[in-house]
């Protein structure tokens, strides 16, 4: 039972990542490879504030969100004015430098040693200790992420985002400052990714750079695509499937390292296959291309 709730908590955390990435990829139509970097930013901010300054959970979350937001502008403002490819490259570069900072800045992040001893969250007297508590907390955060993305998407702001996805030139010709919309969407998605990081840090109590690599970004992208972009359930389903898979493999008796490779091969291959035959994923409303 504990094991099952553990899987569900992880699925919730990844769902937050997938939902927030869907705002960019599924609804606005541009890709970021830096999602894991913001995830890590939130995790490290929360962890360091909690461990080194004794800050409360919510303080860490808000700090992580704010920090992620501000940093996102450094990436988006120079590159979003240009061709989308430049933005992808910029996010790729950003992802790699953040990893490099997580992994090499021994004095702050302890590099590969990671940060242990992150305390369980305490929110206005609610001590989050058990797996059920965490599941509830993660569920609340996931619901919040969903609420934010859905609200934005169904508003006039979201109408413009969708227009940018379909035909950005047309959107500009109707008087929309598409740069502002894209920069804002990117900042929101970064902030939400950071909340997932904070959750993760306090749940596992230990973080290290290996959780925030480029491969992790690609995993989240796969969750969005495989589950289905621009949909309410798609990112969640994608998260559940891709989190549950290696666990299922392990239950069948496959050694852990092989299971990890197989999971990656699975979602990598699925990503390719989906692009060829079913680019709207399992339950998505948007088909890439065509």
């Amino acid at each position: 039972m504990e094991y099952l709730t553990h899987i569900m908590i992880l699925a919730m955390i990844y769902a937050i990542l997938a939902i927030s990435l869907d705002l960019l990829v599924g609804r606005t139509g541009f890709l970021s490879i830096a999602h894991a970097a913001f995830y890590g930013l939130g995790a490290y901010t929360s962890a360091l504030l909690a461990v080194k300054c004794g800050a409360g959970f919510l303080v860490g979350v808000l700090a992580g969100m704010g920090f992620a937001c501000v940093v996102s502008f450094v990436v988006s403002l120079p590159s979003l004015r240009l061709h989308d490819d430049y933005f992808v490259i910029a996010t790729f570069g950003f992802q790699m430098i953040l990893f490099s900072i997580f992994n090499n800045w021994m004095n702050l992040t302890r590099g590969p040693l990671g940060i242990p001893g992150i305390p369980h969250p305490a929110i206005f007297g609610w001590q989050v200790n058990s797996h059920w508590d965490f599941l509830l907390l993660a569920g609340i955060f996931a619901a919040f992420a969903y609420f934010v993305v859905h609200r934005i998407s169904s508003s006039p702001f979201g109408r413009v985002l969708h227009a940018i996805r379909e035909d950005e030139v047309f959107a500009k010709a109707l008087g929309k400052n598409t740069l502002r919309f894209k920069v804002t969407a990117f900042a929101v998605s970064a902030a939400l990714a950071a909340t997932a990081g904070s959750l993760y840090a306090h749940y596992i109590s230990y973080i290290d750079p290996t959780s925030f690599t480029v491969m992790e970004s690609i995993l989240v992208i796969s969750m969005v695509i495989i589950g289905g972009a621009d949909s309410a359930w798609g990112p969640l389903i994608g998260a559940v499937v891709l989190v549950a898979l290696p666990e299922a493999l392990r239950l069948v008796g496959m050694p852990s390292s092989v299971a990890a490779n197989l999971r990656q091969i699975f979602y990598g291959a699925l990503l390719v296959v989906m692009m060829m035959f079913r680019s709207r994923g399992l339950v998505g409303r948007y088909s890439f291309g065509r």
Binding site: I152, S155, V160, E166, D167, F170
Partner: protein, 249 residues
């Protein structure tokens, strides 16, 4: 009302002079047509005027404001809207949604109001009303909820016109508004343009269809190889044999 004009515009692509020393002043009202053979630079001129392409030299003005280096969306907000030669619309959503998209200065297009929704519903209702009015004007109201991709070509052209009007622009730059449209529809579109002009809109259209131009244009500008080779009252310019020969030859 501000008038659109440009001074000594130059723009070349890969060594080809698309626009070469163009100086024009568009009237503040009436219908002006820009004609010329393919590759004359008409669309490029439009692109420069609307901020989609930066000229290498020269300046553009709207009234007394310089618009040369402004991004497209700012020029739209200043009151100049355009359509495209290769029809641009959001095919996936309804005609109404397309027109709603075009409504300017929507509070709901900012993050906090989008999340908190204070006053957004009211504004959306107002915009919907205006959008329906425009669709009615374009005779598309019974197609409001049809997805734009399913409309006929002529209906799509009318829709792009409705979108332009929705931006509350007073100057409309239309790139081939009747090209490829069925003859009955052409008449509809031209009637609409005449009505808009009578209502005070300034219309500039790029067209190949000389008959259409003859029917509605007050002023005609002829371009060839990036330069303006003639301009004047429509019946004047269109009547000059050598112009027509240069154009058709």
């Amino acid at each position: 009302m501000n008038a659109l004009r440009c001074e000594k515009l130059f723009k070349s692509f890969d060594g080809v002079h698309a626009v070469s020393g163009v100086t024009l002043e568009f009237p503040a009202s009436g219908i002006t047509a820009i004609i010329g053979p393919n590759g004359a630079g008409k669309t490029t001129l439009l692109n420069v005027l609307t901020g989609f392409v930066r000229p290498e030299a020269g300046r553009c003005f709207l009234g007394s404001h310089e618009t040369t280096r402004l991004p497209p969306h700012r020029i739209v907000l200043m009151g100049v809207a355009r359509t495209f030669q290769n029809l641009r619309l959001i095919g996936r959503v309804s005609a109404l949604e397309n027109v709603l998209l075009a409504r300017p200065r929507q509070r709901g297009e900012h993050l906090l109001p989008a999340l908190l929704r204070f006053g957004v519903a009211r504004e959306e209702a107002d915009n919907q009303q205006e959008a329906m009015r425009l669709l009615h004007f374009a005779d598309l109201d019974n197609l409001a909820n049809t997805s734009a991709g399913e409309l006929s070509y002529g209906q799509q052209k009318l829709l792009t016109l409705a979108c332009c009007l929705a931006t509350e622009a007073h100057i409309l730059l239309l790139d081939e508004p009747v090209a490829g449209v069925a003859p009955e529809m052409v008449a509809n579109i031209l009637t609409l343009l005449r009505r808009l002009s009578a209502n005070g809109k300034s219309i500039v259209l790029v067209e190949h269809d000389i008959e259409a131009v003859r029917r509605i244009a007050d002023l005609v500008i002829v371009m060839d190889e990036g330069k303006v080779i003639a301009q004047g009252a429509a019946h004047d310019v269109l009547g000059r044999a050598e112009i027509m020969e240069a154009y058709l030859g």
